[in-house]
Amino acid sequence: MNSSENVIEISGLTKHFKNVLAVDELEFTVLKGDVFGFLGPNGAGKSTTIRMILSLIFPTSGSIKIFGKTLLDNRKEILSNVGAIVEKPDFYGYLSALKNFQILAKISGKVVSQNRIMELLELVGLKDRAKSKVKTYSHGMKQRLGIAQALLNDPELVVLDEPTTGLDPQGMKEIRDLIIRLSKDENKTIFLSSHILSEIELVANRMLILNKGNKIVEGRVDDLLKSKVLKVTVEVDKPEEVKNILQNTQWYQCIESIQGNKFYFNLEQEDIPALNKYIVENGILVSALVPVRSLEDYFLSITAQAK
């Protein structure tokens, strides 16, 4: 991979808050065009890392390169091409959304026209409330406004820290669609931190799981999920017979639980057809076979292993 395609390069990044180690020797790379999922339980060090990437806090050690340049030495140049929401988006509540955007536009490092501002407000459905004071906005409206402000300077890199917090399901879907559109149509690189893990699964192509300041795993979302054990629900018409025929086979140890006529297996992808065939060949009808492979399961298992 050409280093010029690396949008974010993190190397040996460490942050101590007095005696607390928040981020420990973190290493990862975000490539151009990535929707990079940044996952981790509360207190994992996600926000601390994001704040270091945006120069809100200073690393204890390690380096951050963005667009191939060191953040510390090229901060202004880099930030003129970065848009961000950090945790909950806050604005000057005593000013309107329009005024807030006009102020931020003036210091965004790029020429931002009034049309661009109105387009963004329309994009997040706030054009009609553009002249209302932000303090009158609901949390969801502020969240959408935050996303619009992150795009104000038409940045190459968009850092979104929990962007769907406080949004209703429809709003969450709109944000997901927006992230996909920004990535596919406008070729922007998205660094997305979220607690809603299914969201990462739906939009991210690469991801990193962080726990207690340490990287647990990093890679393509598909690859990371493919090789792992799935939770498979098999629904049959004769559960007792199934139990008997499986008893002396390799499958028996894979049964996690049995509830009525439903068997819950922990299986690898390639074992599913063989199990199905074995049951059917023994004259038992399989009425449903549902493999569940969620990032949530993966995330929980991998963070549990890390403990």
Partner: protein
Amino acid sequence: MIVTLVKIELFKIFKKWRTYIGFIAIGILVPLLHLAMYLEGQKSLDFITRGLRDSFILVGNLLNGYWISYIILNALTIHIPFLVALVAGDLLAGEATAGTYRVLITRPVSRMQVVTSKFIAGTIYTSSLVLWLAIMSLVIGLIVFGTGELLVMSPDAIIIFEKGDILWRFILAYGFAALSMSVVCSLAILFSSLVENAIGPIVSTMAVIIIFIILSAFDVQILRDIRPYLFTNYILQWREFFYNPLNLEKIIKATLILSGHILIFFTATSIIFKRKDILS
């Protein structure tokens, strides 16, 4: 960029309700003092000059706009720091409280530029507050009470300035008052850079001023020795412009000391803010 940032800071300052508390307070208080002087001023003047009248014949309009403005300036310079701290203490801490540091610092502006623009905007606010005091007390005073000679009691003499010899003294005195209030402003911004809530810097600034004034008031040797290092010792030296002859050396020294304080507070704030982790 710095001009843009200063304009933005001024826009934010003057869009906040708390900014106008000082202007409203002066706008209410000074006319009340004018009214009191209009009704009772002559009695006060007679009381002050009762000793003089035994030896001299005082003629002309001594109860005039200049004298009223001089009295008001004496009375209010102690209280204006609170009005200054009310706004200046909020300049950095207010961003932390509102969470807007995050949108501000993630823009391509340096932290030094942010601090500098806040200092400049704070100084402009402070100067506009002093200018408002000048307009309310001097301009309105001259309109209501007219002009005349200014009678000033200096520590070792009674001075009466002619009409034509007064206005420039007031202009310089208000300029000096703006400088000394800017020290208060910069101290409040320094405190504001340390915390994430504006109440702390406001209270701390006032506490420092009150403590320094108390220390200045006690006439004991040890306190006399530290007095030159307390900036509050110089806040009332605008009075020097109403002494005759002018003690230029004293005025320049006070000006340099106050300017030095601003520079020190600005430098300290810049260093703190440049190293600060934004966690709000």
